[in-house]
């Protein structure tokens, strides 16, 4: 065997390896998607069951499984005169973009799923879109909150990408409504994190909406992630005598803002986004200081909405614990896919895609969902109220 031949052999091996890897992309180029001919409604769960985002994926798996169980226990779902049982295919994408993409392809090709639910994190959900679009299979990202998820790079709407959650800046708009209509506040100060898109996005949408409603933003102060001293900022805020303060940021800094504000004698209500909705907030701020605090969020266990109460009961019975935001969003995602097919009267990828696009007033546990032209749900937002470090009440902002 001469050297040249050996080289050729190696090259051949490498090429076949490349071809094998190539199998991991979608085969169905027809854009037709998958269609069910038996009585199984196949949904793929492409989730982070391990790795950095593992805890989110685990929660979403529980929520999705509950949704499927509930439907199957009732004997299935009737679509177009035929009864279907939900069959979930669960795969771990290991919190990796490349695995998320190959899992998507495998689900489409081998499992013949009509739709995919997950991944939880925006980055992995986005990574799986290309393969699904190629195959014509829709995806519902339960918790992909970044605005870019449902858009192509050139700003057009991704035909097959949908989500169950609202996008981040949407919270700012709803917080403004809550502040103006429910708390009846007219003069608001903003103390915002300007080192993250989250903070600046919420600030922008909040101020725009609050001014539109007729309120006044008396001052907007900024801080950076990692800051610890807010005394001078808050002294300035105190001087402007606001009726309430809006705090778009994460609990690490907002906790300190709350603490220092309360110690300074600023007792007005403080409203923020889901970034401050963490038990750690009360720990950092101190229980006594964490009163008269509100934040917008996707889901609350304190909600008195009938569908939420029912969901919580079922969830507790199955898992022996309270549901969380991620579980409830995944639960809604599966139900949204089923609802979409039901509406179109066919269990196929194209029917689900069409159904999701025109989804209207879907009653989920995270709110009533109506899909807009950018595939972003327009839905009610939950506001949780915190008194002495504990969540005591939940409001729904329609």
């Amino acid at each position: 065997m001469n050297f040249k031949k050996m080289f050729g052999l190696t090259a051949a091996t490498m090429m076949s390896a490349a071809a094998l890897t190539g199998c991991a992309t979608a085969k169905t180029a027809s854009n037709g998607g998958n269609k069910t001919s038996d009585n199984k409604f196949r949904i793929g769960l492409n989730l982070e069951l391990s790795g950095a985002a593992g805890s989110y994926g685990q929660q979403e798996k529980k929520g999705a499984a509950l949704a499927a169980d509930e439907i199957n226990k009732k004997g299935g779902v009737k679509i177009g005169g035929k009864t279907y049982k939900i069959k979930l295919y669960v795969s771990d994408n290991k919190s990796s973009t490349s695995t998320a993409a190959s899992v998507a392809a495998q689900m489409v090709n081998s499992n013949k799923v009509v739709a995919q639910v997950g991944p939880a994190a925006t980055a992995y959900a986005t990574a799986s879109i290309a393969n699904l679009t190629k195959a014509g299979v829709p995806i519902v990202g339960p918790s992909a909150t970044a605005a870019a998820f449902t858009q192509t790079k050139s700003g057009q709407t991704q035909k097959y990408a949908f989500r169950a959650c609202f996008i981040d800046p949407y919270q700012g708009k709803k917080a403004a409504e809550f502040m103006y209509n429910t708390l009846k506040k007219r003069k608001v100060a903003i103390v915002a994190d300007n080192s993250t898109d989250y903070g600046t996005g919420l600030t922008k949408s909040f101020s725009a909406e609050f001014k539109k409603l007729g309120g006044k933003v008396v001052t907007t102060q900024y801080f950076q992630a990692g800051d610890k001293d807010f005394n001078s900022t808050l002294t300035t805020v105190k001087n402007k005598k606001p009726d309430a303060i809006y705090l778009p940021g994460y609990y690490t800094e907002i906790g300190l803002v709350v603490k220092q504000a309360r110690e300074m004698g600023i007792s007005v209500p403080m409203v923020g986004g889901d970034g401050m909705g963490s038990p750690k907030l009360a720990k950092i701020a101190g229980k006594k200081n964490a009163s008269n605090i509100y934040y917008t969020t996707h889901f609350s266990t304190k909600s008195k909405e009938p569908q939420v109460v029912k969901f919580m009961k079922a969830y507790k019975a199955k898992y022996g614990e309270e549901p969380a935001t991620f579980t409830s969003l995944a639960y809604d995602s599966v139900n949204m896919v089923v609802e979409a097919a039901k509406k179109e009267g066919e269990v196929s990828s194209s029917a689900v895609q069409k159904g999701l696009e025109s989804l209207k007033n879907f009653k989920g546990v995270t709110g009533n969902i109506t899909m807009d032209s950018k595939h972003n749900p327009q839905k009610s937002v939950v506001v949780e109220e915190m008194e002495k470090g504990a969540v005591t009440k939940a409001y729904t902002v329609k």
């Binding site: 102060q221 900024y222 610890k228 005394n231 300190l256 110690e263």
Partner: protein, 292 residues
């Protein structure tokens, strides 16, 4: 007027933390000509020491403060012996890069051991606010100010009036000559690191108590700002470092009070650039004549 006084108090309590850190930076630089970038991380170690001893050993605040100073002093000596001493005669850049390496090691080591979560510092001293004609000052702010001033004078006393201090001063003036006079250089450098790190440790516990929030990366920004304070005050001058620290604190507060909160950090770094261009010796720095 009230607002002005309130902001002055805010600025002074923030500034005293920078002053404590700047003092440590300064004496270490003075003696070893090394910018110890790990200084801010020693401050973080002090905060964690306070966190664990108060939570698990039920130390009181002052016991925690003093033991944190001792523990951080030891940490400083170990860092110097392991990382910087072997490089004493190496080019300065090598030592500088090592300092950055030590800083990363401490930050990531702590993230690995204690997780990178923000923790809430145990509130051992109950906060009381005093209202002086519309201006509030809390007992914790007073403790910080008073502790800083005591430690500052203590350091001055050690450097100016003790034998160890004299040894430190002579080593900082001229390594070789000091060594010829029979001064143990390793000894003097170790003590300097111990003192500087002890101050950082104290600052760590104070800041934990004040803000109630500590994390492994908490030393990064204050460390750099303390460096700016040391340069502003003039490397080599104790009152200079202290004044520099207070000035930086007041500057940050002032910038925020004027409504430019987004540019607070930028203002501090601008001062660094301006000082280096206009007054490289700092406000209190000695003019050094380079003999040719």
């Amino acid at each position: 007027m009230q607002t002005f006084l309130q902001q002055l108090i805010n600025g002074l309590s923030l500034g005293s933390i920078y002053a404590l850190l700047a003092l440590g930076y300064m004496i270490v630089y003075g003696i070893s000509k090394l910018l110890n970038f790990a200084h801010g991380d020693v401050y973080m170690l002090g905060a964690y020491w306070g966190y664990y001893t108060i939570n698990y050993l039920h130390f009181g605040f002052f016991t925690a403060l003093i033991t944190a100073m001792i523990a951080c002093g030891l940490a400083g000596v170990i860092i110097e012996a392991v990382a910087y001493r072997p490089l004493r005669n190496a080019p300065r850049v090598a030592a500088l890069i090592t300092a950055i390496g030590v800083s990363f090691f401490l930050e990531n080591g702590m993230s690995y051991l204690c997780s990178s979560d923000t923790r809430n510092f145990p509130q051992v001293i109950k906060r009381k606010a005093f209202d002086l004609g519309g201006v509030t000052i809390s007992n914790i702010q007073l403790i910080i100010l008073v502790t800083t001033i005591i430690l500052m004078f203590g350091l001055m006393w050690i450097i100016n009036y003790t034998k160890v201090g004299r040894a430190m001063r002579s080593v900082s003036t001229d390594y070789d000559a000091a060594s010829l006079m029979g001064i143990n250089i390793n000894h003097a450098v170790s003590i300097t690191f111990a003192l500087g790190s002890a101050l950082a440790g104290a600052a760590g516990v104070l800041i934990g108590l004040y803000y109630n929030s500590i994390d492994p990366l908490m030393g990064m920004t204050p460390g750099i700002k303390a460096f700016v304070a040391a340069v502003l005050g003039g490397i080599g001058s104790i009152p200079g470092a202290a004044v520099g620290g207070f000035l930086i604190g007041l500057l940050e507060t002032g910038v925020t009070a004027l409504g430019f909160s987004a540019f607070r950090d930028a203002a501090v770094y601008l001062v660094l650039i301006v000082i280096l261009l206009v007054l490289p010796g700092g406000l209190f720095g000695k003019k050094q004549v380079e003999k040719v």
